[in-house]
């Protein structure tokens, strides 16, 4: 009861101030981090941000619209490749390359979306998965001078790790804010309607095709730009890494673990799963995959609503 009282109070009394205060503190901490000597851990946070972006952008399609895009990593990979090819082969400025990556991913979303979004459920998942594989195979067999083929592309290290860190941080904030705004908008409402019952949504007059494509494009945009910034940081990409299925599955698992269909879910899920996974991988090289798979199994079996769903059930029942 005490918890609920506190929560009720915070909801009623100047709650806005409290929330924004806490947001700002976290933000301030993240911004100042590089200067406090945490610099070696930057790469950890950097990849954490990337996974958060990946999980959150996946959430737009998978969580809110109900269309599980198993080939989500295709957008990240496409963004990375567009950036890499533009920067390494054509010497274009990184900013332009990133913008092109975002736009390119959106275009890719439209190209993939029009045929695939007609399919439902499992078929959509398999379709996107196989398109992801098809793109990977395509890049493997295109001439090396264009996209690096099997050996990948090495980018010139234009930005220092710290600069990349801020870029990714900014992108993550943008993703969260945009997702929040979209979810609370008419578009968001439409997406949830589609998830619950697509035929009914059509019946009620929602233009499902437009909503789905918009959501897909949005999802792809953030993933693409994230891929581009990742390319800046890692300075090397190659087909298996950029389009690897394990990456998609990890992001989906993170999204689900935290709670698909919520805003906080993917963030929470990514944070916990990524940090735990990284720790395991560093200390237990032979066991980390087994433990990770057990975590996935536990999540799917016992917490299909994710952490947020579980929290909601336990603590917020009182408030509703």
């Amino acid at each position: 009861m005490k918890i609920s009282d506190i929560l009720k109070n915070s909801r009623n009394v100047a709650s806005k101030g409290l929330h924004y205060g806490v947001y700002m503190t976290v933000l301030a901490v993240l911004i100042v981090l590089p200067y406090t000597g945490f610099v070696p851990r930057l790469s950890l946070l950097f990849y954490l941000f990337m996974f958060i972006i990946g999980a959150q952008s996946f959430n737009i399609m998978g969580g809110y619209t109900g269309y599980v895009c198993f080939g989500h990593v295709a957008f990240i990979g496409a963004g990375a490749y567009i950036t890499a090819v533009l920067m390494a082969r054509m010497m274009i400025s990184p900013y332009l390359a990133i913008v092109a990556a975002g736009i390119g991913s959106m275009v890719l979303a439209v190209i993939i979306g029009y045929p695939c979004l007609r399919l439902r459920g499992a078929y959509f998942a398999i379709a996107t998965l196989s398109i992801n594989e098809a793109i990977k195979v395509l890049i493997l067999y295109l001439p090396e001078e264009w996209v690096g083929g099997y050996y990948g592309i090495t980018l010139p290290p234009i930005y220092t790790p710290v600069e990349c860190y801020y870029s990714m941080l900014g992108l993550m904030l943008a993703t969260i804010i945009v997702t929040y705004r979209v979810v609370n908008s008419k578009l968001g409402f439409g997406l949830v309607a589609i998830r619950e019952d697509e035929d009914a949504a059509e019946f009620v007059g929602i233009d499902t095709t437009k909503c789905k494509i918009l959501a897909f494009m949005l999802s792809a945009f953030f993933a693409g730009v994230a891929g581009g910034i990742d390319a800046w940081f890692t300075t090397y990409i190659e087909p298996y890494g950029a389009f690897g299925i394990p990456k998609t599955t990890e992001m989906i698992a993170m999204c689900m673990f935290g709670g698909a269909g919520t805003i906080a879910g993917p963030i929470l899920g990514s944070a916990i799963l990524f940090l735990v996974g990284d720790f395991l991988w560093a200390r237990l090289p032979y066991l980390h995959m087994i433990i990770f798979s057990v975590i996935i199994l536990v999540v799917v079996l016992f917490m299909p609503q994710g952490l947020m769903g579980w929290l909601k059930e336990k603590y917020f029942k009182i408030l509703r």
């Binding site: 976290v26 890692t234 603590y315």
Partner: protein
Amino acid sequence: MVLILNIIESFIKIFNNSKNEKGLRKMLSSRAITKMQAIAIIAVVIIAAIVGSLAYYISAPPPPPKKEEIVIGCSIGLTGRYAETGRFCLNGIMLWSEWINAQGGIYVKEYGRKLPVRIIYYDDKSEKETAVKLYEKLCTEDKVDFTLGPYASDMVFAASPISDKYKRICISYMGASESIFERGLKYVIGVLTPASLYFDTTLRMAATLDPKPRTVAILHTTELFSITAAKGAEKIAKELGFEVVYMEGYEKDAKDLTPLLSKAKALKAEILLGATYFPDSVLMVRQCKEIDYNPKIYSLLIGPLLKDFYDVLGKDAEYVFGSSEWEVGAGYKPDFGPTPKEFAEMHVKRYGYIPSYHAAAAFAGCLILQKGIEEAGSLDNDKVRETLGKLKFTTLYGPWQIDPKTGLQIAHRNVLTQWQKGKLVVVYPYEIAEAKLLYPTPTWAERAK
């Protein structure tokens, strides 16, 4: 970046303003949940971040106050495609570190004493991108003094620019392909025979035979190492007067090589060169038997050198030549470090099995680094690199000398081995051979008797 953020924000504001409807928002009352979510996010993220960082700081060993040890870092494929051979390499490296630490460490003149070594290794899952990230981590977070390359040419190709970026030496004890060394990197050092010379011993041996076989078929996969070896073989074959009648690539996980083998058979190639890894080498021999293709010489890479080759193929493995970097039976006389036999004994005592060339190359790679540090008298990467460019010596692994400009290995040559009566023996060069080579390979029909 702030610019991007602003652009995106304004773009989205425009985008959303046309869709936001206050009435809907109130109706949904999703705000309440979102605020609760917000508290939860903040709390958990902060906790997670704190716990995560604490965990790292507590569990990671404290950095030494002044130089107390030499830290060497690497990533190896302990899971994934390269799992088996990756672990062989790791054993070789750890054996060396135990061996050198038992002697007190490496003597560094700069510090006036011996410093023990510590190896930091990570599993790169046989993925190139992971390896790249790991080398970044090794050089920036773990602050290693030197690095060793990962397993396999394509991995070294991907990871070596990172070590170079941080001006760390990268000993490529398992990357044989020349293209690794042709990119103008300063700090990568080769140990293995360059890939394009892998078939050199086979072809030279074939050139000494009487009657000399005339025609060659070369099969390779799409991997860097394989293509390099194949192209090199083509060049050497032509130089030595052979006729390359067929050269074709296949997908690395192919399950059916009969299209290529049928063509090689139709073109009557007497020498079959396969730039293989393990699974395809087995497949090749099996399918040659299936379609009754009888080249006089089978020479394959990597596969025949593993004990598993004979386990899987049995008698069909007989007569197959393997171009090997190193074998226990090779009679090298090292200038320093253990002899091949001593090394093999150490390895058997510690791990319980006879080492393959992977462990030997890894051990030798570390020996080379050790020699470089000792001769340079310092841990400064530039000094060690310069010193290594001038050195020339023999270890248990064989002769060693690099091209001072590129780091490419120029002294080491492969030995040719052949499976005879269930044992892999060195048959060429004749000076260090253990047994006489068997030629020509009898046909499958003859063997069935």
